[in-house]
Symmetry: C2
DNA sequence: TCAAAAGTGTTTTATATACACCCATGT
DNA sequence: ACATGGGTGTATATAAAACACTTTTGA
């Protein structure tokens, strides 16, 4: 690697695809309305410039907090988008991240200016500025494949959840129906769900048991070669 | 996303982890010896600055060609390393790539200055400058997981190869022994290998059949939901 | 008492694993 | 004729898939 000191550099940004799920609703993505050109008034992913004084990961956390109020969530690097014409003004390379949040307990009003941030169901997305549609598709693909071999789905649910909520989440992300008995059998067999001894509240039918994911146990099992697979 | 025009920007580089395999030898990585500080004289991954006029992908291709002479190979983005103290001189964010090359037919002498590029077996790596060891570990992890569900192993073999060569490649990457009969059964059942009707040359034992991977057929099958899994 | 979702087992089918010998070729 | 790796099949165990009814609860 050879270094030159003052040379023209691409600008560096982060963009975040924030997935939110609320049991009994659809999987959603958080978008913000742009206040400035280009694409003024259009929807785009939250994001912004990486400062020289912060790591790229930190920049993603900061932008997410600043633009949407979302904090303390699962956030993972997705892919870096580095083609030439991504931004109409100048050369911008963007490191994309995806976040998973449970919509029970992450109200949007925490946002700096919540009026400009909004959740959209994946089926009714508006058109997006820049190459953000492509970034979003990339994030959906990652979520869809990763949820099958890592227990990241739980990040989209409240700490205590029912098996039916978990199943509906998987069905939405994988876009196919799953067999209830086989799904429960497989999950319970892993022995990674803690029975909280509590039940769902105020439902107009038999109340379901609430479970919690046993993260500690999962980490232990993983060390011994265990693979979460669904 | 808000934009400021002239603000201090991190430098942006690409780094490439080039894996090479030669049947009957070990999996190797291509390193170059640094001619300039920092880490002068030490080994590091090939890489360099991203120009404003080229995409990040193109920068990776270019640096690989310039520094090692390697061209026309499988090259895929790995991960972006964006922590603060990666480079002792200034803030540098690096987009890492990994490449897969068959050592039969990619002689190193094609390099601009081959004397400074060298293949190392994974078991006898020198210490590396920057955070390149971490990048390398990340690439190994990616290769190890991806080879199980995408047919990228063939990129490390000559176009025509024997089943034993393929098996030894998998065994090295996965770091465990595989059963010969089961391995062959599984692969042949996928019906993605073309029997070239040729045989291995000049070996001191029964000559093995040479196969070629049927990329066209794989692409077709993938569309219909087929999954390469091993 | 009805509606709505929770919860539960067994059979069948497919896939993964374990395992040992003969074959072809060059020296 | 011997050493070296090439090539092959079957039996067993494990996991996936298919499938329908009873239970609980609130309205």
């Amino acid at each position: 690697m050879s270094y030159t000191y003052d040379y023209p550099r691409p600008a560096l940004t982060v963009d975040c695809v924030v997935f939110g799920f609320e049991p009994a609703s659809a999987l959603k993505v958080l978008l913000i309305r742009r206040k400035l050109p280009p694409y003024e008034g259009e929807w785009s992913l939250p994001g912004g410039f990486v400062q020289v004084s912060e790591s790229v990961d930190d920049a993603a956390v900061r932008e997410l907090q600043e633009e949407t109020g979302v904090a303390d969530v699962f956030l993972e690097q997705l892919y870096t988008f580095g083609s030439l014409q991504r931004d109409p003004r100048e050369r911008v390379v963007s490191v994309a991240y995806y976040a998973l949040v449970s919509l029970q307990g992450h109200p949007l009003q925490a946002a700096t200016d919540a009026s400009d941030a909004q959740w959209f169901a994946l089926s009714t997305l508006p058109s997006l500025g820049f190459d953000h549609r492509e970034i979003l598709e990339c994030a959906i693909a990652r979520l869809r494949s990763k949820i099958r071999y890592e227990p990241i789905g739980f990040e989209l649910l409240p700490k205590k959840f029912t098996l039916s909520q978990l199943q509906r989440l998987y069905e939405q992300i994988l876009e196919r129906e799953l067999d209830k008995r086989n799904f429960r059998k497989k999950l319970l067999k892993m022995d990674l769900l803690i029975d909280t001894e509590e039940k769902e509240q105020s439902v107009a039918h038999r109340a379901a048991k609430l479970y919690a994911f046993d993260t500690t146990k999962y980490i232990e099992l993983k060390k011994t070669g265990f693979n979460f697979e669904l």
